[in-house]
């Protein structure tokens, strides 16, 4: 049984509370990026690029039963860490829960305030894209 989105968010907030210094937070983020489920080369195309990031971010989503599996990659390591966090929260969840997720943990771990506006916009685009995938895959589920 997978943890709920809220449970994983809480786990991440607890985890980041161990790092009061921004430098440690970023080091942790960079480490997390190393465990990102990497997107298949065949999906690393223009169609899978997220707009609104200064760095390049590729994101792919597919159904695994009634849950969604995300894979991604980026050419920037901090961005990779942020995607890894997002995927950790939203992976293996049902589309409906992904669409409804409010993702308050981003503010709670101080990510949003610490990231530059351009990056924050990138984060917004990233979340939007993940939710769009969820909406599309939800429709696909209902069709079958």
């Amino acid at each position: 049984m997978t943890d709920t989105i809220q449970e994983i968010e809480k786990e991440i907030v607890d985890e980041f509370s161990f790092f009061p210094e921004w430098m440690e937070k970023y080091e942790h983020l960079i480490d997390l990026g190393k465990n990102l489920p990497i997107i298949e080369e065949e999906y690393k195309t223009k169609d899978h690029l997220i707009k609104g990031c200064q760095s390049q971010v590729w994101l792919h989503a597919e159904l695994d039963g009634d849950k969604i599996k995300f894979t991604a990659d980026s050419d920037a390591v901090i961005t990779k860490g942020i995607i890894a966090l997002m995927i950790r929260v939203l992976n293996n969840q049902e589309p409906k829960n992904i669409v409804d997720a409010d993702l308050a943990f981003i503010n709670e771990i101080g990510l949003k305030e610490h990231l530059s506006p351009t990056r924050s916009n990138g984060l917004v685009s990233m979340i939007k894209q993940m939710k769009l995938y969820a909406i599309a895959l939800q429709a696909k589920l209902q069709d079958t």
Partner: protein, 415 residues
């Protein structure tokens, strides 16, 4: 400072300069701010800030047609600012000084005017690979509208303009040459006087984008002999939302208005409107009066320091930055032309510029990362962007050392 020059005033009082910029006292995440994003926008000296406050507190009214005292004061200040900008650019007449929102609007104004009055099928617009998007897109649009084509002169590996290619691409078909004076991404200072002379010989008009040159170089539009020269206030210690388009009066006379409305008219009836004289023909609507006063005050600031001193300070910082950063493993500089302004653009092997910029910010150092609105230039170098540190008159050698230490610390984290 070790850089000895023959100038009489070799010692500039840096504390005196820095004390004029209140923002430099603020902290970023409890650290002293190191502001190296001057090519995007420079900080403002207190005299510019106060000039805006004084204008709005004591002198504000609409300009030109008012009969009352305040309107006359505001008009006098506004027109005095125009005269200060005329002297600043060494133009012949205030008729040639059009206040705009900034460089972008200046280029749009000219590109629009030429696409109505001058350009047509078979004509060519010559720009270069190092242009800012604001000196590319208006010409693309003009080309689409008129059937003219956009011709792009190459940039050499060191970031200087390929003058051989320029000569080849400059033909009788070229109607306008629009080239940047100082590149925002590379710092390259282009030989604009020579470029304008070559263009003139082929009968082409010339526009020089001076957004990056005005904070660093003494500009003499008569000596350069360009038809148009555009600058932005906020890059040269002045307010945002104000800039100047210089145009030779005989060329501006031929150009149709850009925007229409109040201020720019002589007589209006429903049958026919006649336009106002220069420069008002190009200043539709209530102008940015405070901005004009602010940019004039910025000119006074620049003159109080003097371009010789500005050059001495900034050139020293540029050399120092290159000298210390060069020692970092895997660093590559973009823009190493001999003649360049105080801009250092670089990447470090295996480190994304955005990651580096993020960590530098956390260490109180403001640099710019990304494509710097020069995507075609980034594509040419095959990179997503660079980290760009750009220096102004208030920056110090100590700040360069701080950046160097911060870059090293960031690289350790990111690699």
């Amino acid at each position: 400072m070790e850089s000895a020059t023959e100038s009489k005033e070799t010692t500039v009082d840096m504390d005196q300069i820095r004390s004029q910029f209140p923002i430099l006292k603020r902290k970023i995440l409890d650290q002293d701010l190191v502001y190296f994003d001057n090519a995007a926008s420079s900080q403002k000296p207190i005299r510019v800030i106060k000039s805006l406050e004084k204008y709005y507190t004591e002198e504000h009214s609409n300009v030109h047609r008012g009969i009352h005292t305040l309107s006359q004061i505001a008009t006098a200040k506004f027109e005095e600012s125009r005269e200060i900008l005329r002297q600043f650019l060494n133009a012949k007449s205030t008729k040639e000084i059009v206040f705009t929102k900034g460089t972008t609007e200046g280029i749009n104004l000219v590109a629009h005017g030429l696409s109505v009055a001058e350009l047509g099928e078979g004509d060519e617009i010559l720009i270069s690979e190092m242009e800012h998007h604001s000196n590319i897109v208006p010409w693309q649009v003009a080309a689409e509208r008129t059937g003219a084509s956009l011709v792009v002169c190459k940039v050499l590996e060191d970031g200087s303009l390929d003058l051989g290619d320029f000569e080849k691409k400059l033909t009788e078909k070229t109607k306008i040459v629009s080239i940047v004076h100082v590149s925002n991404t590379l710092g390259t200072t282009n030989p604009v006087k020579k470029i304008c002379q070559m263009a003139r010989e082929k009968g082409a008009l010339t526009l020089i984008d001076g957004a990056q040159s005005s904070p660093h170089l003494n500009i003499n539009v008569c000596d350069i002999d360009c038809d148009f020269y555009v600058i932005s206030g906020h890059k040269m210690y002045g307010p945002t939302g104000i800039g100047v388009l210089y145009g030779k009066s005989e060329v501006l006379e031929q150009l149709p208005p850009y925007q229409t409305g109040g201020e720019m008219i002589k007589d209006v009836s429903f049958e026919k409107t006649t336009y106002n004289d220069l420069p008002f023909k190009f200043e539709a609507g209530t102008p940015n009066i405070a901005g004009a006063i602010g940019i004039a005050e910025a000119v006074r600031f620049i003159e109080s320091v003097g371009y010789d001193n500005i050059f001495q300070i900034e050139d020293h910082l540029l050399r120092k930055a290159q000298e210390v950063l060069r020692k970092i493993d895997g660093i590559k500089f973009y823009g190493t032309a001999a003649n360049k302004a105080s801009v250092v653009s670089f990447n470090i092997d295996g480190v994304h510029p955005t990651d580096l910029g993020t960590i530098l910010d956390k260490l109180g150092i403001a640099v710019r990362t990304g494509h710097h609105c020069t995507q075609p230039l980034m594509d040419k170098f095959g990179i997503p962007g660079t980290v760009r540190a750009s220096f102004a008159v208030y920056n110090t050698e100590e700040e360069i050392y701080k950046m160097d230490a911060a870059v090293k610390r960031a690289v350790k984290m990111l690699k």
